[in-house]
């Protein structure tokens, strides 16, 4: 039987003005695991922590329950303080009896006391019966795999290499550069895309730390943060690498609006990308152009705003006006999405240069007039309430970016999530480049449509996240806990009980469970990868034979807790 010492903190009578600590002490005597219970004045003063720590060490108690304030209060610092004084952090269990009992149930001292006793009693059962799962530390591989060599991937590659790590950069195309290669200039600085790419391409080709693999396809990925094993093919050749982290920068694709606005019927109805190519090669002047925004975007089939189309249209409209001051250029739009100071200024500049903006309503779409040749665009101007006919010898359809079709293939392989369109999902807005799999980061338009400038910023940011992971040289499985200072342990398998049914493999959301063949017994048993396991307990719930356990919350402890509670 494990001896548990219980400390009940009065918190300068904040607790015991409501909760009857002496009665709790009496009742705790019924619990055979409790070796002693002590009421203390306060646990958060350094002197008290030192005294209690000395007492614990002297008494040789194996486990301790501290009933004090919540972890949001000073509870955390109590544990921290005791740990600093040499008490094993694993042996301490904190129960909140101040915020959760004394304060919230001020009017009901009877109920508050019962609740506090109940919580402490359950805590005693847990701490007495829990086991420790062993931690594991691995050396990280100082290599990074970057999938995609568009602006985001290139920026990430260059940044990671400059910070001293080896980079493997893959792209399915034959040349690096991604979509930026097909763009004439980038907004809002009107930089020539070729010049913008040049320093990155230079670095990719000349930096000895960066290896670029064209025409590549990732075949398999195994392993975990710090040590992945990746098989991929490049130019028909199979290769293996072992990167410590992976950055996904697969970019996006342009939506082709077949069936919308008579696209494809005549030569002078083109997409924004086609215009980019035309502006790249030709210096011809366009006379009358009409840009139609939200073609295939913000509609029921694709209910998202693709971010880049408004600024791109404005950029190209200004370019046309610049080349031919007589040109009449209109942008037919719904909401004009130019957030921030730089883009708003850009929008204003376009208006000053004579670009005409006509707002249409989504229930009154513009129509293209003319048979073999486009002559005009008819649009209901929602601001004046009139129908206007805009002369046009060129109609540019501004279409959204759609996710790379490879995203789902990669997501399945890596254990990531895609949203319902097929863009990669982050964990939450505060950590926008991190995914649910440790060591795998997303950036650029693979995550959500972004401009080339933003893609570069995101690529650099993803590089920083990678360096944070790899910089220490080694990582412990327990360091992946998202709650600082908390270690939840990992699932362990009892090989004698495992029948190799594979239930755990099916339910593990982190792909931590695998089946291993035991040849001499003609059977399989499950193995848990500690670096991947997050102790969620799904496998424990589905294991038919009780072979799976999370030692920190094992059956004996949980059953005992429930018994105590009811």
């Amino acid at each position: 039987m494990t001896d548990v010492r219980v400390y009940l903190c009065r918190c300068f009578s904040e607790v015991d003005r409501t909760v009857d600590l002496e009665r709790i002490q009496e009742r705790l005597l019924q619990n055979a695991s409790v070796a002693s219970s002590t009421i203390v004045d306060s646990l958060c003063l350094d002197s008290d922590i030192q005294r209690v720590a000395a007492e614990i060490k002297e008494s040789g108690a194996e486990r301790v329950v501290i009933a004090a304030c919540s972890t949001m209060g000073r509870g955390d610092s109590v544990i921290e303080g005791l740990a600093e004084e040499g008490v094993d952090r694993f042996a301490i269990h904190l129960i909140d009896i101040r915020e959760g009992c004394a304060w919230i149930h001020q009017d009901e001292p009877e109920g508050a006391t019962f609740k506090a006793w109940n919580l402490i009693d359950m805590g005693v059962s847990l701490v007495a019966k829990k086991d420790r799962s062993d931690d594991v530390t691995i050396r990280v591989r100082p290599e990074v795999l970057i999938i995609g060599a568009g602006p985001a991937g290139l920026a990430a590659a260059v940044m990671v290499a400059k910070l001293g790590y080896t980079v493997h950069c893959l792209d399915r195309a034959a040349h690096p550069g991604g979509m930026l290669r097909f763009i004439s200039r980038s907004y809002p600085n009107d930089e020539d895309a070729v010049l913008k790419l040049a320093p990155y391409l230079d670095e990719i080709h000349n930096n000895a730390r960066i290896a670029f693999y064209p025409q590549a396809r990732v075949e398999t990925v195994t392993g975990f943060a710090g040590n992945f094993t990746v098989r991929f093919s490049s130019g028909g050749q199979e290769r293996w690498i072992r990167p410590g982290a992976i950055i996904i920068a697969t970019g996006a694709m342009v939506y082709l609006p077949h069936g919308l606005y008579r696209y494809g019927e005549t030569q002078n109805i083109i997409t924004q990308m086609e215009l980019e190519r035309r502006l790249q090669s030709e210096s011809d002047s366009i006379q009358n152009a009409v840009f139609v925004q939200c073609v295939g975007a913000r509609i029921p089939e694709r209910p998202y705003c693709s971010t880049i189309c408004c600024p791109a249209s404005i950029k190209n409209a200004m370019r046309i006006v610049e080349k031919n001051p007589d040109a009449r250029v209109s942008i037919v739009h719904r909401d004009i999405m130019m957030p921030g100071s730089i883009l708003e200024d850009y929008y204003r500049r376009a208006m000053l240069q004579g670009v005409q903006f006509v707002r249409y309503r989504d229930d009154m779409l513009p129509a293209i007039k003319g048979y073999e040749q486009v002559r005009a665009v008819e649009v209901h101007d929602s601001i004046t309430g009139t129908t206007r006919v805009l002369d046009a010898d060129l109609v540019v359809l501004s279409t959204p970016l759609v996710p790379n079709p490879d995203n789902r293939y990669l997501a399945d392989m890596l254990g990531l999530q895609c949203d319902r369109y097929g863009f990669f999902r982050e964990i939450y807005p505060l950590h926008p480049l991190e995914t649910r799999m440790e060591g795998i980061f997303i950036c650029g338009s693979a995550r959500w449509p972004v401009s080339s400038d933003q893609a570069i910023v995101q690529g650099e940011a993803a590089a920083m996240k990678v360096i944070s992971l790899l910089g220490k040289g080694e990582v412990a499985a327990s360091s992946f806990s998202r709650v600082p200072g908390q270690k939840f342990g990992h699932a362990t398998v009892n090989p004698d009980r495992c029948t190799g049914c594979g239930n755990c493999v099916a339910v593990c959301p982190f792909d931590a469970c695998t089946l291993q063949e035991i040849e001499e017994k003609y059977t399989y048993i499950s193995r848990v990868n500690k670096m991947r396991c997050k102790a969620c307990g799904n496998c424990v719930a589905v294991c038919l034979n009780g072979a799976m356990q999370v030692p920190e919350h094992n059956y004996r402890a949980v059953v005992e807790m429930i018994k105590r509670a009811f």
Binding site: L45, M338, E344, K465, S468
Partner: protein
């Protein structure tokens, strides 16, 4: 005066909001010493004041709290709250920064948040450091404190000392990152918004605090003037923004912010009519447009395209009149509302230390840090650089941290 030992890779981050926190953690994780200076009483910046975050509708503070905790525990990060940068000058090996730290008469390390000082204070000078602060503690407002010392008598832990004085800290650092975030601009120069004429005409951050679940009203939507449930609320977008008289730029975060607030009003009380007066509904970002669609579908929020020309209290009632032209129907109308929320008046808050006549950092005329001309630092992130929301600030912060890391590598190489 305290003086810190020189460390040639240390970085000073000015501003402890989302951008500052992320940049600090990223740099510290790579082994640098980081000094994080925050002028408020606690970390978290403007996000800590928010009730909910779009587009996930999560509580704003919980994810932030985890990161604040990491910052506080990180051995490489030193946090100075209630502190401002007073001067920065170039020195051999980096920059010399002078940090002024205002005292808190209550020792946060000893305060157990029992609230006895607050009850004892006759002047109401004691208030919590913040709505969500880890660990929670009180502070004494020196301006209202009369030094009656009642609080000292009741404090069980002896945390209070009214004689603590301001501290000046001198730091030698190698890089500076501006992450000073944003603040609200006073809208009273624009008379049409009627700021100050009625207690229920408030800015969106005030409204957020007024209706926050952890705030005064525990999530109830009531009028400030009467305490009654309002029948209709108007959310006015681009108040002061996209307006050459005040802020020529778009504050970028306000459209989503208004949609979020309106739908939370609807969620808590579907009887309240919500109107959003907008120019362009800028829902640019991951899932933002879909969020707006979902909210508009699930809870009928009226969208009116138009900027009100006049917001004025109605005489002899508690209501507020909003006069506007609906630019989609070209009709001029006057509508009656019980509350008006003004959205958009956000301005970057730069440090503005007078340094030999120059203000640092150097800013564009709109107030954004201009990293191209700033003499001290080429690094800035978050709203102080360009209007940004939580996700964007976090990305910029990591990117800046990466650039700072490279800087050091390059410098080292040239030294060799």
């Amino acid at each position: 005066m305290n003086s810190k030992r020189h460390n040639d890779t240390s970085a000073l981050i000015v501003g402890g909001g989302v951008a500052g926190i992320v940049a600090a953690l990223d740099l510290a994780e790579t082994g640098r010493d980081v000094y994080l200076v925050e002028q408020g009483a606690c970390l978290g910046g403007q996000v800590a004041r928010l009730d909910k975050l779009y587009p996930t509708d999560h509580c704003a503070f919980c994810p932030l709290w985890t990161d604040i905790k990491k910052v506080q525990r990180h051995p490489k990060i030193t946090v100075y709250c209630r502190s401002t940068v007073q001067a920065i000058a170039k020195e051999e090996g980096g920059y010399r920064a002078l940090i002024g730290e205002k005292p808190n008469s209550i020792d946060e390390g000893l305060c157990v948040f029992c609230g006895r000082c607050r009850e004892a204070c006759p002047e109401d000078a004691v208030r919590p450091v913040g709505e969500h602060v880890y660990p929670p503690s009180y502070l004494i407002d020196p301006d209202t404190c009369t030094r009656c010392e009642d609080c000292i008598t009741v404090c069980p832990t002896g945390a209070i000392d009214l004689d603590r004085s301001a501290v000046e800290i001198s730091l030698l650092i190698s890089e500076v990152i501006w992450a000073t975030g944003f603040g609200e601009v006073d809208l009273s120069p624009l008379p049409e918004f009627g700021v100050g004429s009625h207690p229920d005409i408030m800015t969106s951050l005030e409204f957020e605090e007024w209706t926050a679940e952890a705030g005064l009203n525990r999530g109830k939507i009531v009028q400030k003037s009467t305490g009654e449930v309002p029948r209709a609320i108007a959310f006015i977008q681009c108040a002061g923004a996209r307006d050459m008289r005040m802020l020529p730029y778009c504050s970028s975060v306000c459209c989503m912010h208004a949609i979020k607030q309106a739908q939370w009003v609807k969620r808590r009380n579907p009887e309240i009519a919500c109107y959003i007066f907008y120019t362009d509904l800028r829902t640019v970002g991951r899932d933002y447009y879909e969020y707006s669609l979902r909210e508009l579908r699930d809870s009928p929020i009226m969208l009116v395209r138009g900027r009100p020309g006049l917001i004025h209290p109605l005489p002899s009632t508690d209501a507020i009149a909003v006069k506007y032209e609906n630019t989609e129907t070209q009709k001029r109308e006057i509508a009656r509302f019980d509350m008006v929320v003004l959205n958009g008046n956000l301005r970057p808050s730069a440090v503005r230390t007078a340094d030999g006549g120059h203000s640092i950092p150097s800013c564009s005329k709109e107030g954004f840090v201009d990293v191209k001309t700033d003499k001290i630092s080429r690094f800035a992130c978050g709203f102080t650089l360009e209007p940004a929301d939580v996700a964007e600030s976090s990305i910029q912060a990591s990117s800046v941290a990466a650039r700072v890391s490279i800087e050091r590598k390059v410098k080292n190489r040239t030294h060799d």
